[in-house]
Symmetry: C2
Subunit: 261 residues, 2 copies
């Protein structure tokens, strides 16, 4: 029986800055259903507050503490492991780590720094990493690229790969599709993974990742979904829905949802 | 019977800007021996002329056309494959590709661009790569890092890895330890690989690479050599010499050098 729901944002709730048909109503229904909820995203160019403000501008009335991002997950990881980060992150999110950053770091934290990725900044991160075998590389995602108005652009993944190769270390990923990220979000709701439904439009990052972490998962046919995506992953989705409204309707009306296929 | 010799530069002929004991004499002996010679290096921050001038400043009198670098190898590769490169290389070597670079590129060429590695420059290279599956990624090396006066610094390899990961393509490497590089150098001397001796201080890049390409190889115990390096590679070196002088002495005095171990 599902007690908590994790919702991906872009492609599930909205595309660009326009809500998907029925999404506003679906979120309202979920918020009054008694289900635990978290809105999750891999964006590491924005603070949680900036994410919430964009959602509010589109009409989604969501409390800030219901949003769980890879930035929050990275901060939680640092705190729980008593780590002092050397930061290579976007200027927007630097303040989220203000109280943790340190002149004598024992961890390197990598976000999508965009134009702050330079030879000098990558080299500084590499030198911290290579100063001791005990210093971990913590990255907020592993995506290869994303689509911008004028074309594809490099995401965080290639820069993680560069520092992994140079340092010989494997990064700890604090974002989708890493199981730790899904488990942190479940913990935040007080739900066990098997009581939690992930709803997303990315077959690999949202659905396969959630399933591997022990959650239930529903793939929606909006956003970046392409026909046949559901056949490209293992384990597969528990449900395939036309959109968020369709998924929420079935979740709230069927006692045994999702009946395993 | 050895007819041609390939010599690595740093660590074999000199360390820093000081010739290794006996190296000047050894090179003179080789130059008057009738052996074919090429001096090879993976540096992609300098033109061939800059490499030769540094050697001359140390007392090595070497003709420019005896130096074969990964930059020359990249240019040869582009020419022989009729490729028009998009360049992401060090400003020093840009002019080497002046006649080939193009506004409508059908190849991406990556050198150690140092501070010219930025998010924007890497993204431009990525966009060219992802514009067609037929556009190859050509890289002048794959080294992870090198030692500078103030610490380790990122070499070209991590940036190759980043663009490989983002584009899903595997780079063509025009430097050591790639077999193509060794074969280009052999061809330039008119020698077959089995008639050619590689002398280097890097067990993996110089010796193992040369052996895999079908050359004979001698590891010298100078430069970056560490005791035991000779046991870390497969196939192993044909000879282990104290230094370049020792290697040249044996090469020129033993008719069956190197007698396979």
């Amino acid at each position: 029986m599902i007690k908590g729901v994790l919702l991906d944002l872009s492609g599930v709730l909205y595309v660009g800055d326009t809500p998907i048909n029925g999404a506003l109503e679906a979120i309202n229904r979920l918020q009054t259903s008694g289900m635990q909820l978290r809105f999750i995203t891999n964006t590491s160019r924005k603070t949680r507050l900036q994410v919430v403000q964009e959602l509010r501008n589109m009409g989604f009335n969501i409390a800030e503490d219901l949003v769980f991002t890879c930035v929050i997950a990275a901060r939680d990881y640092l705190t729980s492991h008593s780590l002092r980060p050397h930061l290579l992150v976007h200027p927007n999110i630097r303040r989220e780590f203000e109280t943790l950053a340190d002149q004598q770091p024992n961890a390197v934290v990598l976000g999508d720094a965009a134009d702050d990725f330079t030879y000098a900044s990558l080299n500084r991160a590499f030198r911290v990493l290579s100063s001791s075998p005990d210093i971990p590389l913590i990255a907020m995602g592993y995506n290869r690229y994303f689509r911008e108005a004028d074309g594809l652009s490099l995401d965080l993944g290639p820069f993680v790969k560069a520092l992994e190769f140079a340092s010989g270390k494997q990064a700890i990923i604090t974002g989708k599709p890493d199981a730790t990220f899904f488990h942190q979000a479940c913990d935040a709701m007080g739900c066990r993974p098997e009581q939690t439904l992930m709803i997303g439009d990315d077959a690999i990052s949202d659905v396969e990742g959630a399933k591997k972490a022990g959650l239930k998962a529903c793939l929606v046919k909006t956003g970046k979904y392409q026909p046949g995506d559901e056949n490209s992953i293992q384990p597969g989705a528990d449900d395939l829905a036309e959109n968020i409204q369709d998924a929420v309707e079935r979740l709230l009306s069927q006692a045994d949802y999702p009946a395993s296929q």
